[in-house]
Each structure stands twice: as structure tokens, then as C-alpha cells.
Symmetry: D2
Subunit: 267 residues, 4 copies
């Protein structure tokens, strides 16, 4: 199990804490990232950003380059989406996170994003891992759909080995036989990775469950298991979202979850 | 999804609460069941019972008939084990739970047990389900290793259809590709079943993770997701346990978890 | 891996060959078992038996006690079904196989069946395994939905350890994430078990795939991997079958497969 | 299931047959690709190529860019490896196949390779898929470890949608709970994809099983299920291979398999 080095607790005893503007990722903080699956247009993002900011969301998310199973599905707005996201974040002083899919877009995405996301399908895209290992931005590394804990940490090792030590791990559900949920949130993996590694770990209950009504309980569960934060999909009008509508919360639904988190001091 | 009837929320809106001596299972209570994987001898049980009682454990567990992968592994003490367990429970006023594997032992086990456990390997042993459906004792039904939520609820339906409505569901991890943990605790299933059914649901982090160091965080996670209780393996000397030593806590380790649960009001 | 004993190649170098009337199971023969999922009525069985016999089917199958996910689904005709099946087999001189679900029915089923089937849900029903270990009839042991090869062989070991060495293993697909097929036929497991054990191994492409159009190619594949035979669901009118209609072949469709097997000498 | 278009049988009734020098891929031919996991040095490749050619191997494989779980494992010889592979192929008139991992290497790899391989980890690396969709070379698309049949065909659709219709699908085992084999060869998927699509499909029993002794039976099984060919790892000295030694055959072992295939006319 211990062929990884830089990511391990043996290598570094203390929790890695990543500072990002006024927020800390890791340590004793609970970081909330939220936003729509895809950046769809400017109005939506400019309206959503202050709403999320006011309820305590720390980082604004939104996809500009979307990995889609079918080549005929909406693929994102590209650079226009990056600009809209970045403008929306800046308008309220929130850092933004967005996914990088193509190593050749690394400079472009780095200009707009405060955190670069590597999606689950690319967890073992070693080209991409090496590329973001050379960038001076924190990287969120999602666990692959069928990646073992060992493989996930090895993927993070690729990034650290290139010199970028600001990696945030994100458990987003693994693929199992259960059809009721989109994937299976592996809370034990959150706890295991906190033991094995010093890196911060967050959970993505939206992709893990794929069902609105399960996002609240799995959010509480992930934090109770030791997660350093959550990434949650929010859309002002889920029924008309261009992607992932079924699993998107409305802003007021997220607000209830965040209140419960603070009240119960789960985190 | 809704071919089950008696177990469904549509059929019965309110949570089923099962009274057992002074404890309630379901509703707003958090039930803790603990004890060794197998009843090994009388001294051990008589010593362990008051220790567990004093730290707030509600139900004493211990296997007398053990389902073992190999026919050459320790198979349990049989009726002697039932007596020892029952005596230990009575000595401190704790109800006891033990597993029934053979429909022909149903009367025997019912004489000694306050709750009858159906193990995960027998979740679709319909003979056994029908048999405990006719018994006047609560039944704990563990989810099968690769049972869908739908199949798990259908298995419970078998018991209710025979007239026994006092069924407790127990999520104990599903089998996935991940080798680091023994199984994968499915906290979303806990939350999903609480929505779909009125029956109480508990979690078994010992079998779900198979690793001592992960029992605390997954216990908190299960309760945060809405579980009505926990079942945890405890052994005074895990290194010498006849079965499941690797995943057994020492009593003092369980005490820490129970204190945290009360303090954090996770439950 | 080698905690099993009696089932292992180390224990017994030569293939176990089970004689059953005029057919051999194991060794160089290819055994074909076919028939409906459930015995539905006498006419159907009496008509079907000679048809199957004439196309070279060796053993007639039919369920009298059906393990069904829901308690409200058709559960089989019970003893009436056993009689019908047995009569149909005798009318054409074919041995019959049927499933035993309840240890208390062991004598009853043994009176009618030439081979006793243990279904996948009961692969680790150790009560049942011990019971059929004491019967003087060959036993077909289906692999559990999520049973490892090791667990499957250990389950067989339970039967041999009781004295019954006439065990036939049956690979019937394992549960995976793939939704297109009902299960995933594990042909490598067929080959692996032929190496690890001296017991005959057959495959059940009907349950493995759940789709009519995939039964022929997976039948050929299982035999090419070394399977000693096949078990295939056949129904004269699949659209109106009381269970498993979607995966049942019509007799003439099975005839084509059997002709191809002989022609290609795949087996 | 039918959101894919260009890859579907509805779109194109006849089997796609890809001509490559004197061999046909698809249709009634059985294509054999073989060679080492990684190109390790020139001597090895120049010695191995004529040996494989003489036993009837059609395409020489060898990795120059290796996707490795750990950043500290051997990563391949890069462009030097491409040259060595290409020279070895040319020395005996065999086309060569090698993996492309980085879209920026597409031109480079295309100069040396006759078939471009997309590995299982990159099955949903849509950047890479689009890139090889614009290249005038056949592409071998391996199924992802946990990709459904639907997702696999959608990934192929990405390539065809860019204009490259010469795509070969490769089933190489899916990730399941079974630890005995490295992965689980899904022969039903081979048959299913032959029904759903006109594209040729081959199988890779080396990665599917990860065990030398299972390569022969699973090769026969894949062909019996309808596969248009096989890709098999061969190394002159498996014990000292830089990667995948445990699953590599020696050339003489492959020769036996190829003889059996021709003799049994399985293909």
C-alpha cells in the first residue's frame, strides 16, 4: 500500500492547509464549494454568486469544459464560460474552481481559475496530472469511478512529484452494482485517506448520489467522517439545467444544509 | 421500485418504533448494540456485559451459530453459546441479539434471544425470512453483500408479510472493487431506506470497514446520515479473538466513540 | 487461497466424473440441462420433455420451489411441481434437476430429483449445504451473485466435508456495474475453477446474461473456456412465462445452439 | 441505449472491415496482435518480431509511453521506443500498434504506429478521442475499467464523429469484486457490441485475467463469443519484464494457443 511518498502521512505528519484568499482548505475549516454543473450564461452566474456568497459558500464552481459521455451533449461554453465564471467570482470576492480536461488548455484555465479541477474520468490521465503539477494553483483531484484508494493517492503523487503540493482530494462516489443512487459515496475512503495522507479531502454528494433528497444526509455523513469540505451542485432552476439537473439543489435548499452543518457542529 | 408494500412509507407514514425493555429502536433514539463476534466462553461474556452496560450500550450481541466461509473454521458454541449470552445479558438487565442461521433452530434461538439477527448471507434465505416472520420477537435484517436497496426492502417485506412488523434493517457494507476496506459502507442507502420505509435502520461499521481505525469515523457518518443506531464488535482481547479480531474494538475504544457521539450530538 | 481441501486438485488429481443414468458429467462430455424456469403445469412439461430429449438435452430442469425477490411473486407449485417434473422426465427417460431452498424439504426433493440444485442466493446457506452433503444425490452448486472463486469452492467444501463428493459447480454470472446484461458471465472463473478443483463446472448463460440474443455466444464461450456443460432456460411460450420469460429460449432456438456446438466441436 | 449514432448497426448494417497491409480486421478474419507490454530495448524487439511473425501474429504491439499507476514506475522509452517498435515491425513486414497517452504526441505517434491504441484509463479522455478522430490511422479503443457498454460505444462515437471511422474496440476486462483475476473478462459484452455496432471487436485476455494460465481458455472463449481477434502480451523473459511480467506469455506458449485456435476453428 505504501508505494506513494510525498502524499503520505509518513512523509508529512501535519495536515496540509491550503490558503485561498480568506479561506483555509484543510485543518479545522469546513470548505463549501457550490455552483452549477455548467456555466450556462452570464446572468445566471452573476445572480447566483452573491446568493451563494451570502449563505457562506466559500468557492464558486462552474464547468466551462464539460466531459460528456456523448459527443452530441452540451460540451460547455469554453473560454467564454471561464470568463463568465471568473467575473462572477470577482464580483463578490469569491475564488472560483473549474475543470481542466485538456493539457493544452492548462495556461488558459489557470488564468481564470483559482483552483483547477481534475475530473474523475481524468484521474489517471497522467499527462494532465503532470501538467497541473507544474502550475502554481491548487488542484482538486476527484477520485476515479473505479479507482482504489491506493490508485487515487498515486494519482495525487504524480502532481506532488512535479512540484505542486497544493492538492485537494475529492471523494465523489464509486461505481457499484446499486442502481438506486448514481454512485456509492465511500465515507470510509474519506476517513482512510485522512489517515494515510496529509492532504485535505472533500466530498461531492451531488455526483455521489445523483439524487437531490440524499444530498443533505450524505453531506452530514461525509463531514462526520472527517471530510474538510463539500462540493455541491446548485442551480437556480434545476428542471431546466443543461446538465445534471436531477441532482442539483436550488440555492435555498443548500442554505438549509449549511445552516444545519453550523448548528449541529458536525464539521 | 415500489413493488414492496408493508415496509413502505406510503403504507405507514410514521417511523416504526420498537420497544425493547427500556430502550426504543427507531424514532429519536440512538441504539447501540455491542459485543464479541462470537460467544467464546462464559467468563468473557460475564465480564464484558457490565462493562458495556456501564458505558451505555443498549443491547448485547454475540454469535452462537456462526456463518463461516470455511467448514473448518470455528462454527460457534451452539446452544451453549445461546445460554451464555442470555445469562450475561440477564446479569445486567440487557437484552441480547444473536444470529439465526437454520429455520429449524428458530424456536431454540427465540427462547434465548431478545432480537433475532438474520445475517447478510441469509438476506435472501426466504425460508428463514418466513420463519422469523412468524415469531414474536424483533428481527434485525442485515443487507446482503450485493443486495440492492430494492432487494433488501423486499426481503423485509417477506417478514412483515408473515405478520412480524418489528423489523430493524442493518446496513453492513456492500461488496465493491475496493480492497482497502472489507466492504464499502453505503451511507446513502441508510438515508434512502429512511425515506422509502418506516422501519428503523442501523449500521454495522465493524463489518463494513473491517478495520479498527475506521470504525469511529464511519459510526459518526452513519448516524449523521440518519441511522437509528449502531452495531459494533467489541472484544476484550482482539488479538486472540476466535473470529473477526482485526475489526474488533476493545471496550475502552468503544467508550470513546460513545462519548463523542453524545458530546457532538451527532445522533 | 488454498484453505479448501477436498475440492482441490491437490487432493484429487483426476477430474471427478459423475455418472447419471447414461450421461457423464465432467471429463470429456458436454452436458446440457434445459427446461423452464418454473414448472407451470403438467401439459407443458409433458410436451416439452420429448422435444428437449430429441434435440440432445441430457437433463430436464424445472423449478418447483422458486426463490423470488418479492413475496408476492409466483413462488412455484411446490410438491405438485416436483411430481410433474419427475413424471415428465420419466416419460422420456431423462434425469431431472430442481432447486432445494429449505433444508426441511430435503427428503421430499430428494424423492423426485436426480440432481439437487442449490441456487445462487443460498450458496452460503450453510445449513442447506450441510444437509445436501448428507444426501446420496449429485448436487449442483450455483455461484453466488457476489461470491469470490475462493468462497464458491469453500461452499462446495461444506458439501464434500459431509460426505457427498458428487458436486457440480455452476457459474451463472456475477453482479457488476454493467446494466446491459442481468449479470456478468465470468468465463475466467470457469477456467480457474477447472484448474483449482477436480469438480465438474457448467455455465448458465440464461441467468448470466438475462438476454435471449446473448445466450448462444456466451454458451459457446463457456464451453471454449472449458465448461463441462450448460444449463439453459427454455419455454414453449416465453412471452407468457410466469418467470424469466425475457431470458428464455424457445425449443427451436436451443436446437440451433446445440447443433452449432456439435458442428464446431467447441466442446 | 441508442443515443449513439455512427457506431450503431442501425446506421451501418455491414461489418466494418479495416484493411491493414495484408490483414483484415473484422469480417471473417481473426486478427492476432502480440508483443511485450513495453518496448524495453532494440535487441529484444528485433529478435521477437520474426518469431511472432512466423507463428502467425498479424500486428506487433509494444508500449513506448506507458500509463503507470505510480509516477516512480518505468514510464516507457518515449520516442526511442516508437522507433525501435517501428523498425522491428518493418524488419519483418508487420504493422505495429502502440499507445497514445498525450494529445500533443499525436503527430509523433502517428509517424511510427500503424494502429493507435487508446488505453482503458483514457477511454473517456475526450481530448484524446477527438484528436485521434482526426488522424488517418486505425484506432484501437480499449474499454475502460468500469465503463458500461453504452459509455464504451459513446467513446467510439467521439472518434467517428470527428471523421475517423476505422475504430477497433477492445474488451480487456472490467473491474469487479473478484480478487483472483486482475479483472473480469466480459465475453457477453463482446457479443453485445457485435450486435449493437458494426465495428470490429477484439479481446485482451492478458489484462483481463492477469494470469498466464488463464490466457489460453479466455482467448478461446472470446473468439467463441464472436471476437474478431486477440491482443496478447508476449515477452521472451517474463520473469525479468519491466512491466506486466506475471501475465506475459513466452513466445512458444503463444504458439500453442494459435495452433489450437486454427485447429479447433474456434474463430
Amino acid at each position: 500500500m505504501h508505494s506513494f511518498q510525498l502524499v503520505s502521512r509518513e512523509h508529512k505528519k501535519d495536515d496540509t492547509i491550503i490558503q485561498l484568499g480568506t479561506c483555509n482548505i484543510g485543518g479545522r475549516s469546513t470548505l463549501i464549494m457550490a455552483g452549477p454543473c455548467a456555466v450556462e450564461n452570464q446572468e445566471m452566474m452573476l445572480e447566483l454568486a452573491p446568493v451563494l456568497r451570502n449563505m457562506g459558500v466559500n468557492v464558486l464552481r462552474g464547468g466551462a469544459f464539460k466531459p460528456r459521455t456523448s459527443p452530441y451533449s452540451f460540451q460547455g461554453l469554453g473560454e467564454d464560460g471561464l470568463k463568465i465564471l471568473s467575473d462572477a467570482g470577482r464580483s463578490v470576492g469569491m475564488p472560483v474552481i473549474t475543470e481542466l480536461m485538456d493539457a493544452r488548455h492548462c495556461d488558459l484555465v489557470s488564468q481564470y481559475a483559482d483552483i483547477i479541477q481534475i475530473g474523475s474520468r481524468n484521474m489517471q490521465n497522467f499527462t494532465l496530472l503532470r501538467e497541473v503539477g507544474q502550475v502554481n494553483k491548487p488542484v482538486l483531484l476527484k477520485r476515479g469511478l473505479s479507482a482504489t484508494i491506493e490508485e487515487w493517492l498515486q494519482a495525487a503523487e504524480y502532481i506532488l512529484a512535479e512540484g505542486n503540493h497544493r492538492v485537494i482530494l475529492c471523494e465523489r462516489g464509486i461505481r457499484t452494482f446499486e442502481p438506486f443512487t448514481r454512485n456509492t459515496l465511500d465515507v470510509a475512503a474519506v476517513a482512510a485517506v485522512k489517515n494515510l495522507s496529509h492532504l485535505p479531502v472533500i466530498a461531492d454528494p451531488s455526483h455521489a448520489t445523483g439524487r437531490k433528497e440524499l444530498i443533505a444526509p450524505t453531506s452530514y455523513a461525509a463531514l462526520a467522517a472527517g471530510a474538510d469540505g463539500l462540493m455541491i451542485e446548485v442551480h437556480p432552476d434545476p428542471a431546466n439545467a443543461l446538465s445534471d439537473g436531477k441532482q442539483s439543489l436550488m440555492p435555498e435548499e443548500l442554505a438549509v444544509i449549511l445552516k444545519n452543518i453550523r448548528k449541529a457542529k458536525i464539521a
